[in-house]
């Protein structure tokens, strides 16, 4: 769960805070766990929601406009980049990109759901995802080049 928190956090301290808040929520609402689905999945939702709440609290205005989605480039999947490096790339994304990226890619939410969760338009969600992916692609390329 700490990895989840890191993905959604800008810094390690923020991730620790989210982990703490998330565990407190888990322990306080553990009776609500009905047994349906995996306990880990239930916990993960709590941690993601904790990060989302914090993001919504700290980001009242969405300034970024819609951007056209970038053309996909091939070949990233074949790159052998360590997981911790990828995690660091994600955690260093600008917050609004990071949030949309995580929700879309890791939580497999739709842009409509993301728009509702984060409080942005669907178009913004799409453009933020495109920006996030663009940044990540660039970082991966740089990483591979230096390796």
């Amino acid at each position: 769960m700490f990895a989840v928190c890191i993905r959604y956090s800008r810094t390690r301290e923020e991730a620790e805070d989210n982990l703490q808040d998330g565990f407190i929520k888990v322990l306080e609402s553990i009776k609500q766990y009905s047994g349906k689905g995996s306990f880990e999945g239930w916990m993960k939702r709590i941690f993601v929601n904790t990060a989302l709440e914090k993001y919504r609290r700290n980001t009242p205005v969405q300034l970024l406009g819609d951007l056209p989605e970038q053309e996909e480039e091939e070949g990233e999947g074949s790159m052998n980049v360590p997981g911790e490096v990828l995690l660091e790339f994600v955690s260093r994304l600008p917050e609004k990109y990071r949030m949309v990226f995580n929700l879309y890619v890791m939580e497999e939410k739709s842009h409509k759901e993301i728009a509702a969760l984060v409080g942005i338009s669907e178009g913004t969600s799409k453009s933020n995802l495109a920006r996030a992916k663009e940044i990540l692609r660039r970082k991966i390329k740089e990483y591979v080049k230096h390796e």
Binding site: E13, E16, F23, I24, L27, K31, E76, E84, F101, M106
Partner: protein, 411 residues
């Protein structure tokens, strides 16, 4: 739509595990510790409040309850009685307890992939085992304990006793009412004086008042929550004083032995003295030497009051208004001449009434030290309704201001 980049991150990041620093668990633990302390405090407060509420009827109920009788009356002979020891309170898993943001700065360490260890999670979270304490049902109880076993056993014995016909006679209901009677003792220091009016040639000079100490015993009957009738026996003193000049001649005619005062002549029979009021300077004409001193006339009486007391409030600290009449039986009438080196009793003032009446108005303050013993403090004003002298030329109706303090016993 999923592309290669998304798939790369999804598959890789899902396998990444990072061990959080120990301080996170410490903070979570501190959070719940504080919550537990607060909860314990709240439970203690609630328990104390419930105990207090439960105890209140013991203080205010009019009659003591016969607990076994009540219990027996509620449990019928054939009715099932569930006697079960109280189940232990369900214990919550002791999760790591509370406080947050205790560490402000943490270095942005590189992320080390470490397998997520169940051992690092609290026990309740480390598995989905339904037998885990946190997930165990907490409300599965088949019986509800009504009372403890000893109480039920006592109740059944009592019921059997009643059924056997050898039951003790029913207790006479004792009603706990407010005490009706009060006996109190009081000491009442004060000041008495009065305005003198004279006709027919007696002196019109005013004398000054005297300080006195009264006291006595009072008996009160509470006729209701607010009203009480009081009487008693007390001692009271009124009087007057004045600075004087006097002369001691070698011989004194019987006529000169009378000392003229605003309250009447003093029969100067005990001492051969010529005592002169300061206004009768002419009497001193020809007297070469005279002395100065103080003349004090005292009239002591036994008081038998009859007062009504009305309690303004009905709280612990009670305020009351007192009004009524007093009867005064004169028991002592003396006049003292005090000089620099002696104090002599000159005798009694003539024509002082043996029986007099007064009106009294006062304020009362009463504080219960115990249910029985009360402290009383009462400033009061008393005014004599008749002149203290029978002499038709003298009208002197003294008044007194007194602060009575004492203790009352209520029963």
């Amino acid at each position: 739509m999923s592309d290669a980049l998304e798939e790369l991150f999804r598959t890789t990041l899902e396998k990444v595990a990072v061990t959080p620093p120990e301080r996170v668990w410490s903070r979570v633990d501190a959070h719940f510790s504080a919550r537990r302390r607060l909860r314990r405090l709240a439970y203690s407060g609630a328990a104390a409040a419930v105990a207090l509420m439960a105890a209140l009827p013991l203080f205010f109920s009019p009659a003591p309850r016969d607990a076994p009788a009540l219990l027996a009356a509620r449990i019928l002979p054939g009715s099932p009685v569930l006697v079960s020891p109280a189940p232990p309170a369900p214990s919550l898993p002791s999760p790591p307890p509370p406080s947050r943001r205790q560490v402000a700065v943490v270095p942005n360490d590189p992320i080390d992939p470490v397998a997520l260890s169940p051992g690092r999670l609290p026990a309740a979270l480390s598995s989905n085992d339904p037998a885990a304490p946190a997930l165990a049902p907490m409300t599965s109880r088949n019986t509800i304990p009504l009372v403890n076993g000893a109480a039920v056993a006592n109740a059944l014995k009592y019921h059997q006793l009643l059924a056997s016909g050898t039951a003790a006679p029913a207790r006479k209901e004792v009603r706990r009412t407010e005490p009706r009677y009060t006996v109190s003792g009081y000491v009442s220091p004060g000041y008495s004086s009065g305005k003198y009016k004279a006709t027919g040639g007696t002196t019109n000079d005013q004398m000054s008042g005297i300080y006195n100490i009264n006291g006595g015993v009072a008996f009160a009957v509470n006729t209701g929550k607010r009203l009480a009738v009081e009487t008693g026996v007390g001692f009271s003193r009124v009087g007057q004083a004045a600075d004087i000049k006097y002369h001691t001649p070698m011989s004194l005619s019987p006529a000169a032995r009378n000392v003229i005062t605003p309250l009447g002549n003093v029969n100067n029979s005990s001492k051969v003295l010529a005592v002169l009021h300061n206004s009768n300077e002419e009497i001193l004409e020809g007297v070469r030497s005279y002395q100065t001193g103080a003349l004090e006339q005292r009239f002591d009486a036994i008081d038998i009051p009859l007062y009504l007391r009305y309690y303004i409030n009905n709280t612990k600290l009670k305020f009351s208004v007192i009004g009524g009449l007093g009867t005064h039986l004169l028991v002592d009438n003396r006049t003292y001449l005090t000089s620099s080196d002696s104090r002599d009793n000159l005798g009694a003032t003539d024509d002082i009434r043996k029986l007099n009446f007064s009106a009294r108005l006062g304020l009362g303050l009463e504080y219960p030290i115990t249910r029985v013993l009360h402290f009383k403090f009462e400033p009061a004003f008393k005014y004599y309704l008749q002149s203290i002298s029978n002499n038709s030329n003298i009208d002197f109706r003294p008044y007194s201001l007194n602060l009575s303090t004492g203790f009352g016993i209520r029963f």
